[in-house]
Amino acid sequence: MRTGRWPTLFALACVLLAGCGSDERRAPTAKGLYEVSWRPVEGVLPFNALFAIDAGVTRDGEPADVLLTFKATMPSHGHGMQTKAEVKPTGTGRFVVDGVKLHMSGAWELEFKVNGAAGEDVATFIETLE
């Protein structure tokens, strides 16, 4: 009879390798100055509907005191969003980006530009909406 050891180890691995089955995206900025993580506030990326993003910026694992700007574009279409998203700080290195609307299906490039004492850098994520 199995003791359930393997499922437990798998769950533990998932928790350690943050991201298994979670809706959070995370990546270093291009020059390696910061790390940006984000997730849609409602947990899913809706198609053609206004939504908000919860974002965090760290440097060396610590929340970074930075400014954040956001934009989303469709590189293959040559256009961005019909809305102008607003970024509101909610704590050190924490932000809510509201007014995002990905109005067409296809590949969107979400760009988080960070400006802080260590310099200016950008993290880019590709999200494909069906």
Binding site: N48, L50, S76, H77, G78, H79, G80, M81, Q82, T83, K84, A85, E86, D98, G99, K101, H103, M104, S105, G106
Partner: protein
């Protein structure tokens, strides 16, 4: 016995879905189906939106030709119930001829933005536009208030409260704000009025729109043969609801044609704005690029003093009027009942659905304002494919609204 049941279960699991739809296609078809208890979402900006007395009054106002300069033009003149609430003309003809095609009122209350350029953000504020438009009804809000006072006073006051005495001589014959023409008689008469009277007139004008919108919310698209077919696909059973040509058209619509890129959801519209690169109508028309600026400045918008929910206006809050692809872009129309609202496009450029499909197929010419939507590519459909798409579009027409809604009460 157990072996037979097992074989039967295996056969059922392996049986092809009706008409060979894949699971992914079945999900897409389900996304297009009109729900059985389809009702409009609430409009918090109009607290009378679902008030039956407001709707009954609104139906009277809709058919009243007195709210026009020539005494002969009502909403129902261009939005004729016998013609699916449109006029079967390329472009509208009210008191004068206009530059744009008349959209239907059926389902109008369901759009995020009203008019081809989205210059209004609610059905109630939309109703105010044509009445004061010099080429449509050519009337003014003071005349609207007087007309309500003379012909609809009791039902109006029952819903919206007491009116001032519009027969008092302090109210001018004609007056409305027209900042683009500050020397016009109507604008000068408006600014000469006392502030309190201007506010009363504006409130009555807003109520006029809210009553009409309450009526319009009753004019909804109805389930069509396509929906009967979609229900069968959802349940995994065969269906005779659509002829073979329409099923082939559906396959193209969600597949190679990719019409669903913009004509998505149960109303088959993304509520967005796109530039198809159509020939211009009478004059170059900037479409949404102008409409977005107008809606943000409209005193009767979601954030304005006449809205019943001025703090819940996320669409306005985040709208970017400088979005470059708004140039020459027009609202994606719902395809529900589309076969009933010819001619098509913002200036009535296409007389028939066959013309529409032929244009998407070959994509002639180029945009005269802005640039054509880059997702559009010539599809070079064969004649039978084009006919199939038309057959599918025709399958989106359900029954007309209740007969009691189709005439003056």
């Amino acid at each position: 016995m157990r072996a037979i049941a097992l074989v039967a279960a295996l056969v059922a699991a392996c049986a092809p879905a009706p008409d060979g739809w894949t699971d992914a296609e079945r999900a897409v078809i389900a996304s297009l189906e009109l729900p059985e208890n389809f009702a409009p979402p609430p409009d918090p900006t109009n607290r009378f939106a679902d008030d039956a007395r407001a709707a009954a009054l609104g139906q009277q106002l809709f058919f009243d030709t007195g709210f026009s300069r020539d005494g002969k033009t009502a909403c129902a003149t261009c939005h004729d119930p016998a013609k699916h609430f449109t006029d079967r003309r390329r472009t509208a003809s009210g008191v004068f001829d206009g530059p744009r095609n008349t959209p239907t009122v059926v389902g109008a209350a369901l759009y995020t933005w009203l008019f081809w350029d989205g210059r209004k953000d609610s059905a109630w504020s939309q109703a105010l536009g044509p009445v004061e438009n010099p080429i449509e009804h050519a009337s003014t809000r003071v005349e609207v208030a007087r007309g309500i006072f003379e012909r609809h006073r009791a039902p109006f006051e029952a819903v919206f409260g007491a009116m001032p005495s519009l027969d008092d001589p302090r109210f001018p014959a004609r007056a409305r704000p027209d900042p683009a023409r500050p020397d016009s008689a109507e604008h000068r008469a408006w600014v000469a009025m006392a502030a309190e009277d201007r506010n009363s007139i504006d409130r009555i004008f807003a109520g006029f729109g809210k009553a009409i919108a309450a009526y319009e919310r009753l004019l909804l698209p109805r389930r069509a043969p396509f929906d009967a077919y979609a229900k069968a696909v959802r349940k995994g059973v065969a269906s005779e609801a659509l002829p073979a040509a329409a099923v082939a058209g559906l396959r193209l619509f969600i597949g190679r044609g990719n019409c669903i890129a913009c004509h998505s959801g149960p109303r088959l519209t993304d509520d967005g704005f796109h530039n198809l690169g159509l020939p211009a109508g009478a004059a170059p028309d900037r479409g949404r690029r102008a409409g977005a600026v107008e809606v943000l400045a409209d005193p009767f918008n979601c954030r304005g003093p006449f809205s019943d929910a001025p703090t819940a206006c996320r669409e306005l809050q985040f709208l970017d009027p400088t979005f470059t692809d708004f140039e020459g872009a027009f609202r994606t129309p719902s395809l529900r009942h589309v076969a009933e609202s010819a001619p098509y496009m913002h200036a009535g450029q296409h007389a028939t659905l066959a013309d529409v499909i032929a244009t998407y197929s070959s994509l002639p010419g180029r945009a005269e304002v802005g640039h054509r939507e880059p997702t559009l590519q010539p599809l070079d459909f064969r004649a039978d494919d084009r006919a199939a798409l038309v057959a599918f579009l025709e399958s989106l027409s359900g029954p007309a609204p209740d007969a009691r809604l189709l005439k003056a009460p």
